[in-house]
Every structure is written in structure tokens, then in C-alpha cells.
């Protein structure tokens, strides 16, 4: 006891290096140099890695087989395919189909469901795109360190090819018109914000491919793309929140279903479709530009 007491006192005075004892007791690791430079034994490491990799593969294979079997059995246990009496065809989907037109004004029940009945999901979804845009921006913009890029000559643009060039002059306006049609008719026919936005962005992407990304960068400014996406997202979030807030307080919305079948009908669905389409278009185009030239 007296001994330990004096040891404690010595420790208090700072004469005992407890860490050395503790380290040897708990961490029977090799000394400093080897611990931080294990490449001294590459053969050993490679062998360990190969063994652990084999173990990993075996374990994962077993896991996959088990998962596959269980999922197949569960699929066999599901209601029959195409069955009209399945639990999914309950009063929820019936109301979407049968009363959707008069309640939302949208002929396309999918659009009515996504942008009116369950609009909160779609709000989240456009923000998934926005979040992905942020991460891609973070990853693809060069920070302090310079990353070697492939040389510019690697990117041949197709402008010099007369066939491609001439065809694209015709095709791009057609694609743009088709995209706008799909976008604004989202509540009347299949399509809507997501597909329309993707089609619009494909026109922009073709433009950037053929005329070269520098020219596309000049024509469609970085700040324009970012501001458009931000405005569209902001509009979606604000307008839908207003609508939610009014509904929760028992007020009817300003936007009425209108006459189903007209282009200006279905209340908020048309503007929301346009907003979603702009977000999708800007995001996809930005993805393209980031992957192509490493900047918007």
C-alpha cells in the first residue's frame, strides 16, 4: 500500500511514464516505425489481404444466396401478379383514379397523385436532385489542389462534321419543343416535370456536345443555371407550404382545379410541373457540364 502510494505521489510529480507501461500492456503492437510503415512487409500484407478478401467473398456469397432465396420465396408469397383484388387496389388508389379528375383537375392520375395528393414526397425528391447537384459540385470543382485533367485535345467536338452539325440544327429545336410539350402537358398526358426536364436537358446536352462546351458555357451562364434551379426549388417549397398551411387551417386554396382537360387547369399542378422540370433540366445539364469540363 505504502509502495503504491509513493508510486502515486511519484506519478503526481510527473516522474512515472505511465503511458509507456499502459502502451505495452494494452497494445502489443510493433514499435513506432513499423506500425506506421507496414509496407516493410508487402508480401505478408498481400497474403493477409488475399486471405481476408477470400473470406469476405465467401461470406458475401453466402449472404447473397440467402438473400436471393428469401426474396424469391417472399415474391412467391405476394399477391398474384395483375390481380384486381390485391390489397394494393384499395380505397386509396380508387379515389386517386375515380375522383382524381374532379378533385385535382388533372387527367393524368399519376401527376395528380404526385403533385397534389402526395406533394410532399415530390418536394423531397426535387431536393434529392438538388443535394446531388451540391455533392457533384463539391467533388468536381477543383479546390486548392490541382488535379491533373485529361488534355483538352481529348475532347473533340463534332462541330466540324457537316452531317452532325446540320442534323443537330434541325433536331435540337424539335427536342426542345417536345420537351416543353411533355412538361406543360404533364397533367393531361403522360410525362410531366421529370421526363420533360430530362428531355429539355438532353437538348442542351446535345448542343454542348456538338458546339463544344466552351461555347455552351458562354451561351448558358453558370449563374443562370444555378439561379433558375434555386428559384424553381424556392417556388415549389414556398407555394406548397402555403398550400399545406392553408389546408391545415381549413382554408380552401387559391388555385382551383378548373376545367379538366384544358392546359390552364389543375390548380398548382402546372406551375409545379414547370418548376420541377426546370430543376431537373438544370441539374442534369449541370451534371453533364461538371463531368465534361469540371465546372459548370
Amino acid at each position: 500500500m505504502a509502495n503504491s502510494d509513493s508510486a502515486f505521489r511519484r506519478w503526481l510529480r510527473g516522474e512515472v511514464d505511465l503511458s509507456a507501461e499502459l502502451r505495452t500492456a494494452e497494445m502489443p503492437a510493433p514499435p513506432e516505425g513499423e506500425r506506421y510503415e507496414p509496407r516493410h512487409h508487402p508480401a505478408l500484407i498481400r497474403m493477409i489481404a488475399r486471405q481476408s478478401h477470400r473470406l469476405y467473398v465467401a461470406l458475401v456469397a453466402v449472404l447473397c444466396v440467402v438473400l436471393f432465396t428469401v426474396l424469391l420465396l417472399a415474391a412467391a408469397n405476394l399477391p398474384a401478379y395483375g390481380d384486381a383484388e390485391a390489397p394494393t387496389n384499395n380505397q386509396v388508389s380508387e379515389r386517386y383514379v375515380n375522383q382524381g379528375v374532379e378533385e385535382t383537375g388533372a387527367l393524368n392520375a399519376v401527376a395528380g397523385m404526385m403533385l397534389d395528393y402526395r406533394a410532399f414526397n415530390t418536394l423531397g425528391e426535387s431536393f434529392v436532385l438538388f443535394a446531388a447537384l451540391c455533392v457533384v459540385t463539391v467533388l468536381m470543382t477543383r479546390g486548392r489542389r490541382k488535379h491533373p485533367l485529361p488534355s483538352e485535345t481529348d475532347y473533340a467536338d463534332y462541330y466540324a462534321d457537316p452531317i452532325v452539325h446540320t442534323m443537330c440544327k434541325v433536331i435540337i429545336p424539335v427536342i426542345l419543343v417536345f420537351g416543353v410539350y411533355v412538361l406543360v402537358n404533364g397533367h393531361l398526358s403522360p410525362g410531366g416535370g421529370f421526363s420533360g426536364g430530362a428531355i429539355l436537358s438532353s437538348a442542351l446536352i446535345i448542343y454542348a456536345m456538338v458546339w463544344g462546351d466552351e461555347r455552351a458555357h458562354g451561351a448558358i451562364r453558370e449563374s443562370t443555371v444555378r439561379r433558375t434551379a434555386a428559384l424553381a426549388l424556392g417556388f415549389y417549397a414556398v407555394s406548397k407550404t402555403c398550400s399545406f398551411y392553408m389546408a391545415a387551417n381549413g382554408l380552401t386554396g387559391v388555385a382551383s382545379p378548373g376545367v379538366p382537360g384544358r392546359i390552364f387547369s389543375a390548380g398548382l399542378i402546372l406551375p409545379l410541373n414547370v418548376a420541377v422540370g426546370l430543376v431537373v433540366c438544370c441539374t442534369m445539364y449541370s451534371f453533364y457540364m461538371f463531368f465534361r469540363r469540371g465546372a459548370l
Binding site: L22, D116, N121, A131, V238, A247, A248
Partner: protein, 497 residues
């Protein structure tokens, strides 16, 4: 309907809007906007909590003009605003405390994107807490995953890239499993909202039809969320991700994001599937055993960790084991202990990360233990904070870490065969905690060697004030846990209804 009841919706949308504003404004605005948002969110969640506590009841808030099975809903009991408050407060303190590191680790051109990611994370976490719709939950899980990846990958240099790849692979597997579970659930019930889902599942289970598909769905959803929150055998990504990020991100990732998934799991178990059906499926035993495995296995890993932040991250994985063990006990008291563990870990772990990285700063940024020797003398506030956190993690009475352990142990005695593994796990894990946390706490107070080349640093107020706030909360919870326990018990009672 009073204005307070709209606050959950407002806080979610405000987070999204602030993210958008930060995206287009210059970077110096991002920090201010985010701080204001986090503060506003704290106030709103606190207000909602007070409202619900006053009423002793929760409420559901209809989103849109259509009632429950057709439109979507958010719901607020006591659990949701409480956790929202916890998330907002911890994120606020983490962002203040790690502010200088953000300036150092994140390139100037990307700083506004960092704030975007913080805002989106807050919004997604709040939505995951409040949502009453299983598919909305999926969408916001993905937002949370992506913005967590941004928080991680935004750091220049280091191995944050590989850590992000690893994190994303695991996270994507997790969300796919969750989505398959949602698909199976929808296929056999035809519902997506929690209350209707619970009725449908109970009816289905009583009738005995599609029971196998439902069990698989429960298992897949649980497994997906367990992968995402770093439950034991799937925790491979967690130490890298949490240790490679910048300090504020480490605090957010470890302190609140993994908890968000766990809370969603709790909500799905109690609100969407129904506790009886979940217990009948037998999934809780698996969770219990995995939790105990994590408590022991990750603690052993932590002992062999060679760098401070890796050790703290492994300890996070071990602490998440406690949480899953509590869920796996399957009783209300077990769940109470698990929620206490969430609170305890959410206030202790950011403190450890903040003080740990300051100690490393006092050692020229080196994280290995030999360099950290005597670091407490070089940065006294950080040393004190780290010591408090480490002692709390070990589970010394009068600190927060003791409370969940006490409740776990007390609950263990009421269980059947689970009693022995739980008690054994608690004992072994505590001993292992002593080995690595007390060792580190002693190490940083050892006298410096004569030829020490590190100079003492003068700590800046914004580095240690958030830490001391967290330490104050920690001590308060340890000394006087009564109100918190009462609140959580009420929240659990409301959750099961």
C-alpha cells in the same frame, strides 16, 4: 389550429429554403444563415415540445387538402420535437465549435456548399423525425445520405474520398434494402401512412395471410436502417467516415445522423408495424444480439485504434450497439433506456470530437497517441472537456453516461433469457471502455517530456464554449436525470398509442 402546430412543417421547409439561399449567395452569408436557421429550429422545436407537453398529447398535421390515407401527414408527439430539438442544438454547437476547422479544411470555393449540406441535413433529419409516411421517410433518408456524403467529402485532402466511397456503398445498400422492405410492405397492405399501415399489418397478421412476405419486409427495413446507422456487423464504413471528416462534420455525423436512422427505425417499429407484430416476427432478438456484439466488438477495435479520432469513432459504433440492444429488448423500459442513450451519446460524442481535435491541434495536428501525450497541459479547456467526456463514456456516476447504463441494467433483470447476455455485454463493454477512454484521459494529462516540441496554444472562445455547454448538459443529465426520464417515459407511452 394554432400556429405552433405548423412549426414542424415550417422548420423542415425553412431548412430546405435556407439550403437553396446558401447555394446562390456568397459564402460569408452561408454561415450566418445556417446559424440563424439552427437557432430558429431550436426555438421552434422547443416550442412544439412545450405545446405537446402542456397538452400531454401529440397531434397529426395534414399536409394538403386530403385526409390520411390519401394525402400525407406529419405527426408530433413528445419524441419527435424532443429529438428535433436535440438535433438542432447539437448541430448548432458542432457548427460553432468546429467553425475554425471548417475554414481550414474546406476550400474557399466550396464553403457555401458546406452550409448547404448542413441545412439539408437538418431538414432531412427533422423530416425523418416528424414524417408519418413511409415513402416520404425513404426520400428524406436519401437526402440525409447525400448531404452526409457532402459533409464528408467536402474536406480537402486526407482520405475522406475513400471514406466517402465506402460510406456511400454501405449507405446505398442500406437504402436499397429499406426500399425493398417498403415495396413488400406496400404490396401486402396497400398503405403507406403509418397509422393505416399499422391497422393493415395487424389485420394481416391476425388473418395469417402473406405472413412470410411481411416478415421479410420487416427484416429488410430493419436491416436497411441498421446498415445506415452502423449497427455491428455493418459498421465497416463508420470509423473511416467519422474520423476522416472535418470536426464539425464528425460531430454531426456521429452525434445526430446515425441517431436519425435509429429514431426512424423506432418510429417504424412502434407506429407503422406495431410493436406486437414486430416482436412476433422475432427481429428484436437479432437486434439485441447484434447490439451486444457491437458493444463488445467495436470496443475491442477501439482499443487497437492508433489514432484518437478513429478511437472515438469506434466508440460511436459501440455506443450504437447499446442503442440497438435497447430497441431489441422490446419493452417500454428498454426503449426508454435506448432513448436515454441517444441523448447521452448525442451530447457526449460531439464534445469528445471537438475537444479531441483541439488536443490534436495542440500537437501540430497529430492524432497518434504518442504525440498526444501531455496535450491537456497545452490546451487546458480541451483537456478538461475530453476528460469529462471520457469519464462519462466509461459510465461513472454523476455524469450522463451512467444513466442509460443504469436503466439498461435495471431493465435487464426483468427479462428472460436475454438477461445474461445483456448484463455480460454491459460489464465487458464497461471494462473495455475503461481501458481505452481512461487510458487516453490519463495520457493527455501526463507530464510533458522535456524535449517536447509542441507549444501550448491559447484556446479561442468559440472552440471551447460549445464544449462547455455540452459538458454542462452532460453533468446536468448525470446529476438530475429525473425530468428527462419522465419526459422520455411519456414520449414512449405516446409512441405506443
Amino acid at each position: 389550429m394554432s400556429l405552433v402546430q405548423s412549426f414542424p412543417l415550417f422548420s423542415i421547409v425553412l431548412g430546405l429554403l435556407c439550403a437553396v439561399v446558401c447555394f446562390v449567395t456568397p459564402k460569408q452569408w452561408g454561415r450566418r444563415i445556417t446559424l440563424a436557421l439552427l437557432l430558429a429550429s431550436c426555438v421552434m422545436q422547443g416550442w412544439v415540445l412545450r405545446f405537446c407537453y402542456g397538452n400531454q398529447a401529440g397531434y397529426t398535421y395534414q399536409l394538403g387538402h386530403y385526409p390520411a390515407p390519401w394525402g400525407s401527414e406529419i405527426t408530433a408527439g413528445l419524441l419527435e420535437p424532443g429529438l428535433g430539438l436535440l438535433c438542432s442544438a447539437v448541430m448548432l454547437l458542432a457548427v460553432i465549435g468546429g467553425g475554425r476547422h471548417i475554414g481550414h479544411d474546406v476550400a474557399d470555393g466550396k464553403q457555401h456548399l458546406y452550409w448547404v449540406a448542413v441545412d439539408l441535413t437538418l431538414s432531412a433529419l427533422l423530416a425523418m423525425c416528424y414524417t408519418n409516411d413511409i415513402f416520404t421517410a425513404y426520400v428524406f433518408i436519401e437526402i440525409c445520405t447525400i448531404s452526409a456524403c457532402a459533409l464528408l467529402a467536402v474536406r480537402e485532402g486526407g482520405r475522406s474520398l475513400i471514406a466517402s466511397v465506402r460510406y456511400m456503398v454501405f449507405a446505398l445498400i442500406g437504402s436499397s434494402l429499406f426500399l425493398i422492405g417498403v415495396v413488400f410492405t406496400y404490396a401486402v397492405t396497400g398503405q403507406l401512412l403509418f397509422p393505416q399501415l399499422r391497422e393493415a399489418v395487424a389485420a394481416l397478421w391476425a388473418a395469417g395471410t402473406y405472413r412470410f412476405a411481411m416478415t421479410v419486409a420487416i427484416a429488410l427495413m430493419t436491416a436497411g436502417l441498421a446498415v445506415k446507422s452502423g449497427c455491428f456487423p455493418f459498421h465497416g464504413w463508420l470509423p473511416d467516415a467519422h474520423s476522416q471528416a472535418t470536426t464539425a462534420s464528425s460531430c454531426i455525423l456521429s452525434g445526430v445522423i446515425v441517431k436519425g436512422y435509429a429514431v426512424l427505425l423506432i418510429k417504424i417499429i412502434y407506429r407503422a408495424i406495431g410493436a406486437e407484430v414486430f416482436m412476433a416476427s422475432g427481429a428484436q432478438h437479432v437486434l439485441l444480439l447484434l447490439g451486444i456484439g457491437g458493444m463488445v466488438g467495436c470496443s475491442i477495435d477501439a482499443i487497437f485504434a492508433k489514432r484518437l479520432k478513429v478511437m472515438i469513432a469506434f466508440s460511436s459504433a459501440a455506443q450504437i450497439g447499446y442503442l440497438f440492444m435497447g430497441i431489441g429488448m422490446g419493452t417500454a423500459a428498454g426503449l426508454t433506456a435506448a432513448l436515454l442513450q441517444i441523448v447521452n451519446h448525442a451530447i457526449t460524442k460531439p464534445m469528445l470530437f471537438l475537444s479531441g481535435s483541439q488536443l490534436a491541434d495542440a500537437s501540430h495536428g497529430r492524432m497518434d497517441f504518442p504525440s498526444l501525450r501531455g496535450a491537456g497541459h497545452r490546451n487546458v479547456p480541451a483537456g478538461i472537456l475530453f476528460t469529462i467526456g471520457a469519464v462519462s463514456m466509461v459510465g461513472v456516476p454523476l455524469l450522463a453516461g451512467f444513466i442509460p447504463k443504469l436503466y439498461f441494467a435495471r431493465e435487464a433483470f426483468t427479462l428472460g433469457w436475454q438477461r445474461w447476455p445483456v448484463l455480460l455485454g454491459l460489464a465487458v463493454s464497461t471494462v473495455l471502455n475503461v481501458l481505452y477512454f481512461l487510458y487516453t484521459a490519463v495520457l493527455i494529462w501526463l507530464p510533458q517530456e522535456a524535449d517536447c516540441r509542441f507549444k501550448p496554444v491559447t484556446p479561442h472562445w468559440d472552440e471551447f464554449v460549445p464544449g462547455f455547454v455540452l459538458a454542462g448538459l452532460n453533468v446536468a443529465m448525470g446529476i438530475h436525470p429525473g425530468p428527462l426520464v419522465a419526459l422520455i417515459e411519456k414520449a414512449v407511452a405516446l409512441l405506443g398509442r
